[in-house]
Symmetry: C2
Subunit: 273 residues, 2 copies
Amino acid sequence: MNKEEYFIKQFSNNKIIGDDGAFIDGFVYSMDAFFENVHFKKEWMSLKQIAYKSMIVNISDAIVMNAIPLYALLSVAIPKSYSNADLKELAKGFKKAAKKFGIQIIGGDTISNEKLDISITIISKTSNPILRSGVKKNDLLCYTGILGSCKKDLETLFENKPISKKSKFIKPKLKPYFFYEIAPFITASMDISDGLFFELEKLSKASKIGFEFFNEIDESIGSSGEEYEILFSFDEINLDKIKRIAKKHKVELNIFAKAIKGKYRTACKNHHF
Amino acid sequence: MNKEEYFIKQFSNNKIIGDDGAFIDGFVYSMDAFFENVHFKKEWMSLKQIAYKSMIVNISDAIVMNAIPLYALLSVAIPKSYSNADLKELAKGFKKAAKKFGIQIIGGDTISNEKLDISITIISKTSNPILRSGVKKNDLLCYTGILGSCKKDLETLFENKPISKKSKFIKPKLKPYFFYEIAPFITASMDISDGLFFELEKLSKASKIGFEFFNEIDESIGSSGEEYEILFSFDEINLDKIKRIAKKHKVELNIFAKAIKGKYRTACKNHHF
């Protein structure tokens, strides 16, 4: 158990780890930190890109619970060295993401700090939340898109080499319209932020279930974090419907495992540096 | 205009600075940062006290808007050096405050960081929010309790000398029962976190009004931050009711000014280090 898990374990209700967000009375409340030297280095991205990504990774949590994000609160710790032009860029990134997803930035806190540390709370609405605990025996497991590029890009960044501006690592591509349409036909979902293997471990714990892989998944794919692709499960009976919706939205599906009795644990280490 | 104000100005709706929290459809959403070396130094307080205070300063925002805090989300960046015993202490502080105010900790995020940086979101409920914009001409201005001790205690801490464990700087004393009872009879309110003079400037901006002081207020009182006393305004017609409620709850009232046409600006500097 790492430090974060030990800390979370102190909260007996354990709601703190349950899902990407907490579902209460039709609302989903989610909060994620996006800290300099933890989630990004300032050399890697522009301030606008950093602010944009910090919003997107939070909005992702709402979407994969089948919730419509409504409001955002921002806690932004800003280095003393930042110029007004820097602050303007930072604000632009937050506003761009908010506008794209129809979110109102309603409040928060700004303080002066040594590094740029952002925490965001998103308040969303849903009448049918999709949780991590819903995987049933014999369900099919699927992830969207292509995994692996974010791990490669992260390695490239660590070598002080540039990556494409179009990299998912810089600008994650969420799939809200696809997801809201498949939502009635799936049993569980979450986003892939820590890597597929890690998410599967969380899914296994939440649903008390194991997975039988159809083919071995390479570590370069399974341990690639920051992908913000969607991992979900569904009854085979809905396979055609889901395939049709995926085709309509041009989303690639990777059906890679079946839920079986048991539990799944990964031996991979967390990707955060 | 300082950096924080410039950043906030980028958000055109300006809701981000409006009140201690944002009021929407019966809910109040508030979020405050509580960062090491910005709001506290680790030598000053135990981890339990730090966590407790980080919750209390957030709960204070809800109370002064006449809202009942229901849920909390915690973003906690934890130094790698912390032992499991440290984490347990930290969790104890959060849980103590949550229990005291009947709040459920429903989620958040924990990450590994260089220093202890906490951001908290509180979700509260109210049918009658009290805002900063409600001060009317001729209203009386009042603050609760005794101001000044937190500034003194902060100075003592900076001299590396100890302060009393009972100091309001370590353990702010909120007055929810008093406040909820006076709420129907007041026109505006906020808590005193940055110091009375600063809060008056915010109140003046939000209500587009000035203040006529009955007596000069010393800087040792007016610029003492972290007090978490309550600043509020009311029509003189309600003076006796408010006095009676204050007596019942043993709360000291300081009626110090009258609202007049004009605006109020302070020359004092912010207390944050």
